[in-house]
Subunit: 722 residues, 2 copies
């Protein structure tokens, strides 16, 4: 039977991906590193990024050890209690080990992404001096190192643990034991994204406020002491942070989908449980081809080249997905139901279409071709206040379309699942799981495009700071602008997949509770504690956003003070006769960002634990009110999180591009072009600055928060059961 | 038995309140109207406000007729269908009549509030020329006209309809038939608050942006053509809008609590159904005493005087509440359960304490004595961007404390209800209903304090525009500043009561569905359509906020264009030699605000109808998925609404007071006072302008939206049942 070969195939493809990633990395590192003055800047960026990551990882390691000890302690002490005993033998060390491996893999994924990107920036810059295509390929292939590694490691982790724990013989218990892997990944991702997000925006806002506004020097001007910190920030926020974010997504969703597969064991046997892994592995193969296909003519929009690669990846991933459906979702002998596989394939296609719809909606709300961004630019005519009002209005508005898409996708995928299996128990939910898998199939390529962003951004900064010829700058500017688009699209994709996956993870949680207690619970908002759980979940999202935003403000304040001090104490900096102390700025942002990431991180981790405990004992009446209230916290928190993240990502992106629209020279008032340095431009700069912590700190951290809520409740479910 | 006399007592107290209100109005109107130049301004305000209201009411009347026809049509066509037939004979005309009367009462309540306030402004201004106490009393008593009328009319409406429809004989059906009253009130309130809110902020933002920012003239300067429109706005937004808002609250919550009382008929008989009315009536008596108690020494903070009145009102209301509990919540002969009334009283006290906690939290987040507002002022040092970031962070943060309070109150009140009745069915929910009644007992006094705000604001404007002596201006400034505080407190109170009442109204809806279908439904988020309903409910809040904010921007743009036109075409205006055309500005804002209020209003009304219908037919599986999805929309929408309204109200208030803090001369940078016209002040003005549509348009409209969602689902419940 094919099923027995699935794990070897999945693990084999994962290893192959790592080999290809290593090959790509070698290829990138072999490229020319340009002129000495460029290397000097790139070295500073590299050192800063590595220093930040090593300090950040030390903090995260400490927190992870505490978390691991808590998990171990709880499971060990209660190992004979029925709830835990139900989860199978050795659960106490297995869950803990999964957590530790998940945390480690996440850290490694983030590190590798950044390792390559801080070396690819200078090589992309050097390549841009001769060929646009060469620069594009270096940046994308460096991004692919990150994309392939992240997805391959999540498959190796989940597949490996499943195999190692004997999942092929004990399919009922093992998926519950490896939920720790997802939680470990979320735990590290939360702090990585928070720390990186705070770092990048504190440096950016600090550099802009003193440099652009007070001193009147342009962006990326080497006289600005915070400019290196700003470039470091792109790497630690976008590369390391987003890498950990998407690693977490793929890990959590693999585990969640496998748990849902258990319910369909009578129908598909092991095939239904292993399907998510195979579909994802085929997606890896598709990505490898897609990345190698990309090449771009000198006179072409680089975005078109990237889109061709995306299209190839998507088509191949779809074919692989169909193959996985027809190979694995086969009724076992004696299956009680007839399976219509075309509906399962349809669910996968719904997932892919949802990804496209999200990308399209994100573009509509964040590109200046369309009404929303233009309305913000228009509003800038009457000053910063109307710019902000209009940007917030766009941000709130842009939740509508994605929610309608996600609602339709959920309903349709659910219907597909039911139709495919004649309404067998768990079939509707499995339909939504399949749609999620479809959406995530081309994930590695998307991540490669995302990492492309900070690499080209850095390359542009290096060219600018080392004062290379205008023609080169134009090339890196073109790449940089494409990088901005891909970064925005990835965020749309990430929130879309988080939204679709959320339902999968809720269901996995409820399935887990059902497996432990032997009876299904609902999440009935008419019960007071459950309603209160939901209310607290939504509030958690608001307070977490506040903390993340404030953290940027606090850390930026430190940068501002330091830059002012350097300008004041060393007049040679502004005159261009002496160099600013970049390293000190990098150091100061590092300390500030790490200090500020702890409070929001702990809030996110501790809130669900507190609610679960509280209502376990305090809940009125009988039933599993602890588990049910936590589920409400999770579900309503996810709803609020999806909405807030959309507001923050798209609102921030729209403000950014409203400023760019005015700078582009296309913006006219009464027929006259109004551009840089005009009053509307100044107003738009205010909006852009407000949007920065929205789109690069709070928004991305909310993606992680949503998934963390799911994985933490998965791990702690037995805790909340009476 | 006492119960038979309850309705006459309630109606008698209501009529007495109207008489006292008329007496107060006569007293206010008899006061001196000051100098001719003051009267000229006040006449302009009065005309503008009346013109707006009459046009607005015409639009709302039109929409109401359509809604009434739709309700009548639906109930009439389906009058023999089981669902409707279950609601009792004559339901079709009774629900419609209730709707029409509710709508009419709401309009009248709003009109009376504004009628007195636009006449009290000049009289308060005139009194301020001689005595602070006299001015305070006139403003508060004028406010009390509105407060007493609103609450008395809601009691007359609900109590009268109950009596007229024969509720004393048919307690099972009549409460369901008068839900239309609540919906009528909500329907009018939504458009009144939206239209008024858009008007007031469009005029304010428009006047500020051209006057203060472009022309450099101070606030309330008579040369600004939009200044009268701005003063009109205070009346139509704060008086008429808030009056309709609180009328709706009291009406909806009376009906909801009566429906919950039905479930306890076996225990309390009619007493449990009539209790909400009697508690509220005693609150009216307490308010009358409280208002007459208020007097203030010339050297005293007027806020202390108002607080004394509030304290007296609260204590008396508590005594009345206790009397109502001990008189009405008496077990009937043969009652199956023992009643511990002290727990019911305790639930009421929890409600009162919740009101206090909300008022205190609102003060903490919006007054410049405390950290949050000061942090915004600090952030203004680095410009408008950091001011905005910091204000948004405060806004998001300030959801935490109120949610914890409301969660604790809900849980505790629920527990009290259960403890009082030994866990009898419906007892926990009745506990939350009693807490809500406790919170709303001093409602009329709160509303009086709220209306005090725009009256003193107007009085200040009249004194300023007619260039009265500085000493008088100082007095009106003191009153105005107290008015700002009371306005902020009322918003905290309104959102707190909406949050507490929300659960009551959900439960009433579910009880209604249960009465119609004969079986209880839950609201189980694990079902896909129910989750989607919840997701759509939260999204509705975001999109509605966006539309409300954008409406202000659009309407303000029209004002800006008009003011610029007047300045350009008539140079004499700025020179002070010729008068601007105030009336044209008033006219333009009126047209703009009315046009802009329609889209968000219709979205709010139609969204629950659409979802209910959609899932009734589209829902997967069996059960009442239409009704259940709408309930999820309602509940998750309410959660999101409470949070967003809190963000908007408190964020806006905090921005406002950060600006005032800098203006106060207490704000120092490095030990040096930094005040008006400084760079931080300019940054703070941007924040204040952004906060305007938050706190006076979107936030208050969200209070109404929350309750509208409840009342519309109550009325349309039979529609969503298969």
């Amino acid at each position: 039977m094919f099923v027995e070969n699935v794990l070897p195939i999945v693990l084999g493809i994962s290893v192959l991906s790592l080999v290809v990633a290593a090959f790509l990395a070698k290829h990138v590192l072999a490229a020319d590193t340009g002129k000495p003055e460029m290397r000097e800047i790139s070295d500073a960026i590299r050192e800063g990024a590595e220093a930040f990551l090593s300090r950040q990882y030390r903090t995260i390691a400490l927190l992870s050890v505490v978390a691991a000890a808590a998990i171990f302690g709880f499971y060990f002490v209660n190992r004979d209690v029925k709830n835990i005993a139900e989860m199978g033998a050795g659960t106490f060390w297995r869950v803990t080990l999964s957590f530790v491996i998940g945390a480690l893999c996440s850290a490694v994924a983030g590190y590798i992404g950044m390792f390559v990107s801080i070396r690819a920036n200078i090589r992309t810059a050097a390549a841009a001096m001769t060929s646009l295509n060469r620069a594009l390929q270096i940046a994308l292939r460096a991004g692919a190192v990150s994309g392939l590694t992240v997805v391959a490691m999540s498959l190796l982790g989940v597949g490996g643990l499943f195999y190692f724990f004997g999942g092929l013989n004990d399919y009922r218990h093992v998926p519950l034991q490896i939920v720790g892997f997802g939680f470990g990944a979320s735990f590290v991702a939360l702090f990585a994204q928070l720390g990186g997000g705070i770092y990048t925006k504190a440096a950016d806002v600090g550099a802009d406020l003193v440099g652009k506004v007070e001193a009147g020097i342009p962006e990326d001007d080497p006289r600005n002491p915070a400019v290196v910190a700003d470039l470091v920030g792109d790497n630690v926020g976008d590369c390391a942070g987003r890498g950990a974010d998407l690693f977490e997504s793929t890990a959590a969703e693999n585990v969640g989908a496998m748990i849902l597969g258990i319910a369909l064991f009578p129908v598909f046997g092991m095939g239904g449980i292993l399907f998510p892994l195979l579909a994802r592995a085929f997606g890896l193969l598709a990505t490898m081809v897609g990345v190698f296909v990309v090449r771009c003519r000198e006179d072409e929009d680089p975005m078109d080249a990237l889109n061709r690669g995306y299209l190839v990846t998507t088509i191949l991933a779809m074919l692989g997905f169909a193959a996985a459906v027809y190979l694995l979702l086969v009724p076992v002998a004696g299956s009680p139901v007839v399976v219509h596989r075309r509906y399962l394939l349809l669910a996968g296609i719904i997932g892919i279409l949802t990804a496209y719809a999200f990308v399209w909606i994100t573009q509509y709300y964040t590109e200046y071709k369309y009404r929303p961004v233009r309305s913000i630019a228009e509003a800038s005519r009457t000053g910063p206040a109307t710019n902000i009002i209009s940007g917030l209005a766009v941000g709130f508005e842009c939740t509508g379309a994605p929610v309608i898409v996600i609602s339709a996708a959920l309903m349709a995928a659910y219907w597909c699942g039911k139709a495919a299996l004649g309404g067998a128990p768990g079939s509707g939910l499995y339909g939504t799981a399949i749609a999620t898998m479809g959406m995530l199939a081309p994930c590695a390529y998307i991540l490669a495009m995302d990492t492309f962003g900070p690499i080209t951004d850095n390359a542009g900064g290096i060219i600018e700071m080392s004062k290379q010829p205008e023609a080169v700058r134009q090339k890196t500017d073109r790449l940089d602008s494409v990088g901005n688009t891909t970064k925005a699209l990835t965020k749309g994709y990430a929130i879309g997949s988080a939204a679709l996956a959320a339902f999968l993870l809720f269901s996995a949680y409820l399935d887990e509770v059902a497996k432990i207690t032997g009876s299904h619970i609902g999440v009935d908002l008419t019960k007071v504690p459950v309603f209160v759980g939901g209310l607290l979940g939504a509030t958690l999202v608001f307070v977490f956003s506040s903390l993340a935003i404030k953290a940027v403000g606090n850390a930026a304040q430190v940068v501002i003070t330091e830059v002012r001090r350097q300008f004041k104490e060393n007049a040679g900096i502004m005159a261009g006769t002496s160099k600013p102390d970049y390293a000190r700025c990098v150091d100061i942002v590092t300390v500030g960002a790490l200090r500020e990431m702890v409070a929001p991180g702990l809030l996110a981790v501790l809130a669900p634990v507190a609610v679960g405990f509280l209502f376990k004992y305090l809940g009125h009446g009988a039933g599993q009110l602890g588990a049910e209230s936590v589920a409400a916290l999770l579900m309503v928190g996810t709803i609020a999180g999806i909405l807030m993240a959309t507001v923050m990502n798209n609102g921030g992106g729209a403000w950014d591009n409203a400023k760019k629209y005015i700078e582009s020279g296309e913006f006219k008032v009464d027929g006259v072009v109004v551009g840089k340095k005009s009053e509307p431009h100044k107003a738009a700069v205010v909006g852009d600055t407000v949007g920065d912590p929205f789109k690069d700190t709070a928004g991305p951290s909310l993606h992680v928060l949503i998934k963390l809520l799911s994985t933490i409740t998965l791990v702690l479910a037995p805790l909340f059961i009476r």
